[in-house]
C-alpha cells in the first residue's frame, strides 16, 4: 500500500491512499490543528465527496478506534506465524491480588518467562507498559509467551 503525501501551502498536509476495493481516502492535517477525513468520489477520483472535520480530540478517538483492535489482531497474527508463541488476554477481576498494584510487583516475566506486552483499559491500549504501571480492576492484560508460561501468568494474575 502506498500512502501519498502532498503539501497544501497555507493549510498543511494531505495524506491519501487507495483501498483494496478501489476507494480513495485521505486525511488533511491542518497546520492550525484539526484533521479532515476525506472520502473521494468513485466517479470523479479528484473530488472529495465527503469531508468530515475532526478536532484534535475527535481525531485521536478515531485513531484509537481504528488502531486499538489492530494491536490485538496483530498479536494473534504473530502467534499464528511463530509456532509455540501464544498471546492471552487476561482480565483483572475485582478480586485479583494485583488490582490497584503496580504491574511490576507481579514479576510475571521472572516467574513465568511470559511478557506483558499491553494493557487495555476502557478501549484504550497502553502498549509496552513500564513495571510501575498501576493495574486496576477491569483492565485487560495482554501476555505473550509459551503456552506454559502464559498459563502460569494467567494463574498469577488471578490468584497471586
Amino acid at each position: 500500500m502506498e500512502v501519498e503525501q502532498t503539501a497544501l501551502p497555507g493549510i498543511g498536509l494531505r495524506h491519501e491512499f487507495s483501498t483494496r476495493y478501489g476507494r480513495r481516502i485521505g486525511v488533511v492535517s491542518h497546520r492550525a490543528g484539526g484533521r479532515d477525513l476525506v472520502i473521494y468520489d468513485p466517479g470523479d477520483p479528484d473530488r472529495a465527496c465527503e469531508t468530515v472535520k475532526l478536532n484534535d480530540v475527535e481525531a485521536d478517538a478515531l485513531a484509537e478506534l481504528l488502531g486499538a483492535p489492530r494491536i490485538v489482531q496483530r498479536l494473534n497474527d504473530l502467534h499464528r506465524e511463530v509456532e509455540g508463541l501464544v498471546s492471552l488476554q487476561l482480565p483483572i477481576a475485582p478480586g485479583s491480588p494485583y488490582a490497584g498494584r503496580a504491574m511490576g510487583e507481579a514479576r510475571v516475566r521472572t516467574r513465568t518467562g511470559a511478557s506483558i506486552v499491553a494493557v487495555v483499559r476502557a478501549g484504550q491500549v497502553f502498549a509496552s507498559p513500564a513495571p510501575g504501571f498501576p493495574l486496576a480492576a477491569g483492565d485487560v492484560v495482554v501476555v505473550v509467551g509459551s503456552p506454559d508460561g502464559t498459563g502460569a501468568a494467567a494463574d498469577i494474575i488471578a490468584n497471586g
Binding site: 497544501l8 501551502p9 479532515d36 466517479g43 477520483p45 472529495a48
Partner: protein, 386 residues
C-alpha cells in the same frame, strides 16, 4: 453638532451598515468585498449619501488598511513554500502571469492609457484573490480535492510574483528617470532576495525578537514593525504596501500562525475601510460609461484564469472535472487588485483606470464564488447524463 459627535455617528453608521451587509453576503455565500466597494461608491462624491466629516478619518484608516491587508497576505505562506513553488511550479506560474496579465495590459494599450497604466492594469487582471479563493475551497469542501494543491501552489507563485511586481510598478508610477527607476527596482529586487534569504536562513533572530510573552505585545510588535518597514519602503519609493508584505514573508512558523490569528480581526476592520475608501474615491457616475469595458475585461480574464487552472491541473494529472474546478477557484479578484489600482490612482494614472478596476473587481469578487458554487452541481449533472 459637535464635530467629534458627527464623526462617530457617521463612522459608526458606516461600520454597522458594512457589518449588516457582510453578514448578508456570507449568508448567501458571496464575498463581502464587492459590497464594501458598493458602500464606498454610495458614500463618496456623487453617491447617494456622501460622507462629510469622516472622509478624512476613513482615508487615514484606509492607508493603515493597506498595510494590515498586505501583512497577513505575506504571513500566509512560509518562505519554504515560496521557494518550493518557484522550483516545482514555475511553468504553470509563468503561464498564469502571461495569460492573465495580458488582458489588462492589452486593454490599457488599446485605449491609449500609456505603458505605465498598462503595467498597472496587467497586475489588476493577473492576481487572484487568495483570501476569497481560500474561502471558496473551505466553504465548498474542496480542500481535500486532488486539484487543490495545484490551485494553492499557483497562489503561492502569485504572491512571489507580487513581491517582485509591486516594487517595479511603484518605481514606474513614481515616474522616476530610467536611472532612478532602475535603481529603485534594483533596491527592491535586492530587498526581496534578502528578505527571502533571511526568512529561509536567519529567521531565528527575528523570531527571538518577536517571541511573544503575550498576545498584546505580539500585536504591538508586529504592527509596529510592519509600519516602520512600510514607512522606510515609502521613503525609498517602494510603496508602504510592499514593505508590509515583505515583513509578512520574513515572519513564519508558529509565530506567523499566532500573529495571523491576532491580526485577522484588525485586518477585517481596516480592510473594510480600505475597500470603502477606494469606493469613496470613485464617482459612481464615472463607472457607467466604463461598465461595458469592465464587464468585457472580466469575461476575458475569467476565461484566461479557467485556461490557466485547467492547464496547471492537467499537468498535475487531474481529470477533466477537476481541471474545471481548479480554473473556477482561481477566478475571484480582490485585495491585491484594488491595492494595485489604488497605487495607480494615487499616482495620477488615467482617470478611467480607477472606475474600470472598481467595476472589474466588483464583478469578479461577486461572481467568482457564485460560479464556483454552481459549477459542481453542473459537473455532476453532466456526468449523470453521460
Amino acid at each position: 453638532m459637535n464635530q467629534t459627535a458627527i464623526l462617530f455617528l457617521e463612522f459608526g453608521a458606516v461600520l454597522l451598515g458594512l457589518g449588516v451587509l457582510g453578514a448578508l453576503a456570507l449568508r448567501v455565500g458571496v464575498s463581502p468585498i464587492p459590497l464594501y466597494l458598493i458602500a464606498g461608491l454610495a458614500f463618496g462624491t456623487g453617491g447617494i449619501l456622501p460622507l462629510t466629516t469622516s472622509k478624512e478619518f476613513v482615508s487615514v484608516g484606509a492607508q493603515l488598511g493597506v498595510i494590515l491587508v498586505m501583512l497577513p497576505l505575506g504571513l500566509e505562506y512560509t518562505a519554504d513554500e515560496l521557494v518550493t513553488s518557484l522550483k516545482g511550479n514555475s511553468r504553470a506560474g509563468i503561464v498564469d502571469v502571461v495569460v492573465n496579465a495580458a488582458p489588462g495590459a492589452v486593454c490599457a494599450l488599446l485605449l491609449g492609457w500609456g505603458p505605465v497604466a498598462a503595467v498597472a492594469m496587467a497586475g489588476v487582471t493577473y492576481a487572484t484573490s487568495s483570501s476569497i479563493t481560500a474561502r471558496i475551497l473551505s466553504d465548498l469542501g474542496w480542500i481535500g480535492n486532488r486539484e487543490t494543491p495545484v490551485v494553492l501552489s499557483l497562489l503561492v507563485f502569485e504572491e512571489l510574483a507580487m513581491a517582485i511586481y509591486l516594487p517595479i510598478l511603484t518605481a514606474m508610477l513614481a515616474g522616476l528617470s530610467f536611472l532612478g527607476g532602475a535603481l529603485t527596482v534594483g533596491i527592491a529586487l535586492a530587498t526581496v532576495s534578502v528578505v527571502l534569504l533571511v526568512a529561509l536562513r536567519g529567521g531565528r533572530l527575528i523570531q527571538v525578537f518577536m517571541a511573544r510573552p503575550n498576545p498584546e505585545v505580539l500585536v504591538l510588535k508586529m504592527v509596529g514593525l510592519a509600519l516602520l518597514v512600510a514607512g522606510v519602503a515609502q521613503q525609498l519609493h517602494v510603496s508602504a504596501a510592499v514593505g508590509a508584505f515583505l515583513v509578512g514573508i520574513v515572519l513564519s512558523g508558529k509565530l506567523a500562525e499566532d500573529a495571523q490569528a491576532l491580526l485577522i480581526p484588525m485586518r477585517d476592520l481596516f480592510a473594510a475601510m480600505f475597500f470603502v475608501f477606494f469606493g469613496l474615491q470613485t464617482d459612481p457616475a464615472t463607472i457607467g460609461p466604463v461598465a461595458g469595458l469592465a464587464a468585457l475585461l472580466a469575461l476575458v480574464s475569467m476565461v484566461t484564469k479557467l485556461v490557466t487552472g485547467a492547464y496547471a491541473a492537467r499537468r498535475a494529472g487531474i481529470a477533466r472535472a477537476g481541471r474545471v474546478r481548479a480554473g473556477m477557484a482561481l477566478i475571484p479578484r480582490g485585495e491585491f487588485n484594488i491595492v494595485i489600482a489604488g497605487l495607480a490612482v494615487t499616482a495620477g494614472a488615467h482617470p478611467d483606470l480607477g472606475p474600470v478596476a472598481a467595476a472589474y473587481v466588483l464583478i469578479l469578487a461577486a461572481f467568482g464564488p457564485l460560479a464556483a458554487r454552481l459549477v459542481q452541481p453542473l459537473i455532476t449533472a453532466i456526468a449523470k447524463r453521460a
